[in-house]
């Protein structure tokens, strides 16, 4: 079972990141909620994996667990393994983990307006990473920072380095955050909805910047998004999360062509893309995902919202498949029809 619950990266060598049976439990006022439930995936060097799903399905919690932002919070309990470069990150001490953060694994956040300290100059905030992880002197740090700012497309980096965040636009701040993340050439970048807070034209620029830099730096990227258009444009692999679990995972091409889970089909149907079969109204998935702190639905968590739910769905489905994984009780013929529902093939 544990063997099946993975999306293995299509490489012969051991993957860069290998998450096995990750669970994250939030305990608050005596009640515990599984925010992430037995999630496994792996990622090879240089690959982009997109984690998609609606808000509150555990994408961000998964990402923050990898870089260990919630490990010192007493309300969170983490289980499973997160093997990175051959080491289980969950077994590291907090001090050892600090040596990984910023150096080997970097993270950029959703809102560039709030993720930079308003009181420090941009240059000082980027320099802080270099000071944490390298022996560079202050002049070398400054030179490297200017180089990084130039690399992420900040004009006049030699003078903008001394600006404060409020002198930068939203797009420029996210570029500065990317420069900060790149400072120590990490092998894994976690980007938590890096474009959600930006306007559409800036979104495209930031995404192509990330894509370009991963080729240049050869770094793997875990990109969290709820925009399947982004997934189609940038990702190698995709993992669809629902209620803290992986419900479908595989190569982007496979998942988009033949979604195997009604939730994925629903998400695909709701993209207002030009190349899909037109319907008079943009379809949407009825209802809202369960609030995990208030309890998970028994059986398949998607059952209350699923138009295909039948008797078997009261049991909890397992993750099935080899390269293209899904967690659904529907028989193969019914799952094959989901592509039509998703608007990927004419009815």
């Amino acid at each position: 079972m544990a063997q099946a619950e993975t999306i293995d990266a299509p490489t012969q060598t051991s993957p860069l990141l290998d998450v096995r049976g990750l669970s994250v439990t939030l305990t608050r006022e005596g009640s515990a909620a599984a925010l992430v439930d037995d999630v496994s995936f792996s990622l090879a060097a240089g690959e982009i994996l997109c984690i998609v799903g609606e808000s509150g399905c555990g994408k961000t919690v998964t990402a923050r667990s990898i870089i260990g932002l919630n490990r010192t919070d007493p309300r969170f309990t983490l289980g499973g393994r997160i093997d990175f470069d051959g080491t289980d990150l969950l077994s590291l001490s907090e001090t050892q983990m600090r040596g990984v953060r910023g150096a080997k694994i970097a993270m950029i956040f959703q809102d560039p307006m709030t993720s930079l300290n308003p009181l420090h100059r941009i240059g000082a905030q980027i320099g802080e990473v270099l000071r944490n992880h390298t022996d560079l002197g202050s002049r070398a740090i400054r030179e490297r920072t200017i180089e990084l700012l130039a690399q992420v497309g900040i004009p006049y980096p030699g003078s903008r380095i001394d600006d404060y965040p409020h002198q930068f636009s939203g797009g420029m701040r996210q570029r500065a955050m990317i420069a900060l993340a790149l400072a120590c050439s990490p092998s894994l970048l976690i980007a938590d909805e890096p474009t959600t807070a930006l306007d559409v034209t800036t979104q495209k620029q930031i995404l192509s910047l990330i894509d370009g830099l991963r080729h240049q730096y050869g770094m793997a990227v875990v990109l969290i998004t709820h925009d399947l258009g982004v997934v189609a444009g940038i990702a190698d692999r995709v993992m669809v999360m629902y209620a803290g679990q992986c419900v479908e995972a595989g190569a982007v091409r496979d998942v988009f062509r033949a979604p195997q889970h009604p939730y994925t089909a629903g998400l695909l149907a709701s993209i207002p893309a030009a190349n899909r079969v037109r319907t008079p109204r943009l379809p949407s998935i009825k209802g809202a995902p369960p609030v995990l702190t208030e309890g998970r639905p028994a059986g398949c968590a998607f059952r209350p919202r699923c138009e295909h739910a039948f008797g078997a769905c009261v049991e909890r489905p397992g993750l099935e498949g080899v390269d293209h994984l899904h967690r659904c009780w529907l028989p193969e013929a019914a799952r094959a029809h989901l592509a039509v529902e998703a608007g990927r093939v004419p009815a």
């Binding site: 932002l69 953060r101 970097a106 993270m107 308003p118 009181l119 802080e128 990473v129 409020h166």
Partner: protein
Amino acid sequence: MVKYLFGRVLGGVVTLFLVTALAFFATAFAPGNPASVLLGNMATPERIEAITRQLGLDQPLPVRYGIWLRETLLGNLGTSNVSFKPVNDLLLAAAFPTVQLALASLVVAVVIAIPLGLILAQNRNSWWSRPASGLITLGISVPGFWVGLMLIVLFSVTLKILPSGGYTPPSKDLWLNIRSLILPVATLAIYLIPSVVRFVRVTAISVLREDYVDTARAKGTAPAAILLRHVAPNTLVTTITYIGLQLGVLISGAVVVELIFSIPGLGRLGLNAVLNRDYPVVQGVVLLAATGYVAVNLLIDLAYALIDPRVRAR
């Protein structure tokens, strides 16, 4: 930046003008005639009338205010109705002990309260966090005069190591001056510390939830460095404003402390003047206290601009 400071200075001047008006009219409308208080047992209708004329109290109010305002702007606050000494001299003599007391208490309070609040915020999840917060709430509810009296009982009466009151100017004997201020400063600082600690703690906890603290953690920065480099400055921005507002508490606290420890400061001068209906002195004390309040808050606005680049940009 210039525009920001200009606005602040203008605001301060307007505040001061309003305070002068308030100080003047509040005393003018207060019941009781200064002349009869002054004469006491010797009061006869003729004498009262003579003194009233001598003090200029027979003039219409707007005229009296105009004269007072003009003289005040020229730096002349008049003479005391009781001691007939110039108010300027009385204020000058009383201001020094008060400023010394208030500044020392403020510095002691801030130096203790800010690190304490930050440490409490950093350790908000540890087992001693709740009892410590309870202790602070208790500290806020304890009246300042009670602390002062308890300190006198302990250090002056029981241990006999510190004077129970009085004041020696530093020009006379610096050591005695310091000794005479230890208990008053402790009283006032203990009075101020709990509320500042609570404010710093609450502010720092909300700063710790800011996204840029996550960014700092994702950089691999150590918790102590995050606290000092990222949390403390951002907490300070709002805390200095709060301390500016606490100045009123400090001034009223100083009055109580001066009475308990019989320090010849502005608080005692003002209180005695109120009891004697010595209006020129009352007005002088109010004006001086208000000027101090406005001046310190201007300094705080300046400090605010020094810490926060967004304010400088205005």
